[in-house]
Assembly symmetry: C3
Homo-oligomer: 209 residues x 3
């Protein structure tokens, strides 16, 4: 089952990366590189942090081929309809859900504490997008007041731990947690659920001007 | 002693990260994520570079809990006084001093040459801040003409190597080197000590326009 | 031969980093840090991804000394002639060629598939520049429509695999592939060869405004 989760996460994230790259007017290399980073960034950090070796995309080398083919195929498709903005949310939410749980499961298996495992779930789930934002020269949405994102991942990981602790078999706990993350993320985006945030200081605005 | 150095470094850096995040108007997730990256970024790079395993914040999983609690507690404190700008320097300097020496010590222990050890001290001491700057979409101060920063770390590491070589016990050499870095950094900031720098080329200004 | 390839790659990339840092008006620490990152960034990622240990610049600690001396020496040279822009391309192309092949060779040796090896060749060849661009707060040229860059690296890796497969000894295949990358890159830059790219969406421009 773990393989399947990872595969779905990779494909969703790659699609998200490709759509994002098209919106930024990138060429084929840019499309592929961004898709590659979004799809493999979070999981690579997790594998490095946990000293898992070889990395998941080196061990499963068909992942890179899939991303490559996806990038080429989508390059042949003419202009996407204008609503791409909305389309971006679905693969992003699916990637978030599957990668978060894949990250938390790998951490638990490596013997970390549950708190560290939930952190690694969040890192695995969100870091592809953070890298993409940094590359595209934007303050990552993780660090801007924006609809719940990392929070969904964090809560989903703890939901899975709770379900496991209540002796629900993993075969049920895992899909429930993933679905929880995806739905919470889509709902947060739809109804603009946010955490409270601090007012930005004057100082900073001046500095950036 | 090593544990204590690392703990002080983590706490100072986390406080710096929290204050920085507040100045940027981030929400709780942003505050925690930034504090996490500033506190663990440099040491994580060091551990990855030296292939130390598990990472220091996975081995000492109370570090992440401390950062988490710090982020939540500070979220409950109302607006900080306006002088935050100045407040930022102290935890930053303390984090720089403790992390630089922690990095250099770990490298020496892993058997690198002294020059490489001083490089890793600088990386460990400064990288949390570099990551924070990149995330916040600013050219890291490490790369802008600014008061001495990495230089303090570099000199402090060599001060420790020299004291060690002159057969001063580590129990003295380490605190002296740390204090040297912190004081030099605060003094550099106070009196604006800088290295000479090149005039920025016209070409570049044009390109960015 | 592998050592020589890596040495040339490091020196070229360091020179590129130094020139780039001068154009941005950095001080000595900035010059050294940027040279360090451009010279070691790609190879460090490769070593981390392949779990090669110790890292190539820790194992060969004269590399860091060379970069350090380069940064100091160039700091003493007065203003470079105005044509630096053009000068930047040569060390950049040489670094790209040598690092790409060094990356691909290391990956093949570590037993990855050829496709993954070519990916790691591209990562090793291009990532120093990507890091430099991110640090300097620009969208990396890898992700903007620009003359062929990663493509040269990718094609060069496959040229080497093909030559190897056709039983040409490595002593010939490697220099031919490196020369191919360097020349293709210089030609692409000279005559502005590009890949087709997508029109940038209106949506995005608005968002950045």
């Amino acid at each position: 089952m773990y393989q399947l989760i990872e595969l779905i996460a990779v494909v969703s994230s790659a699609i998200y990366g490709v759509l994002l790259a098209r919106r930024h007017g990138m060429d084929l290399v840019g499309v592929f590189s961004l898709a590659f980073m979004v799809a493999f960034g979070g999981g690579t950090l997790r594998d490095l942090f946990l000293d898992r070796n070889p990395l998941f995309w080196i061990a499963n080398d068909h992942y890179a081929v899939i991303v490559f083919v996806l990038a080429i195929v989508t390059s042949l498709i003419p202009m996407l309809p204008e609503k791409t903005e909305r389309w971006l949310n679905l693969p992003d939410a699916i990637g978030l859900g599957f990668f978060s749980i894949a990250g938390a499961l790998a951490a638990v298996e490596a013997g970390t504490s549950l708190f560290i495992a939930s952190m690694l779930g969040v890192v695995t789930g969100t870091f592809g997008g953070v890298i993409a934002d940094v590359i595209c020269n934007r303050v990552p949405s993780l660090f801007r007041p924006a609809p719940l994102y990392a929070t969904c991942s964090f809560l989903g990981c703890w939901l899975m731990f709770l379900l496991n602790a209540s002796s629900l078999p993993e075969a049920y706990a895992v899909p429930i947690a993933i679905a929880g993350i995806v739905l919470l993320r889509l709902a947060a985006d739809r109804w603009d659920w946010r955490l409270p945030h601090f007012a930005e200081d004057e100082v900073e605005s001046k500095e950036q001007a």
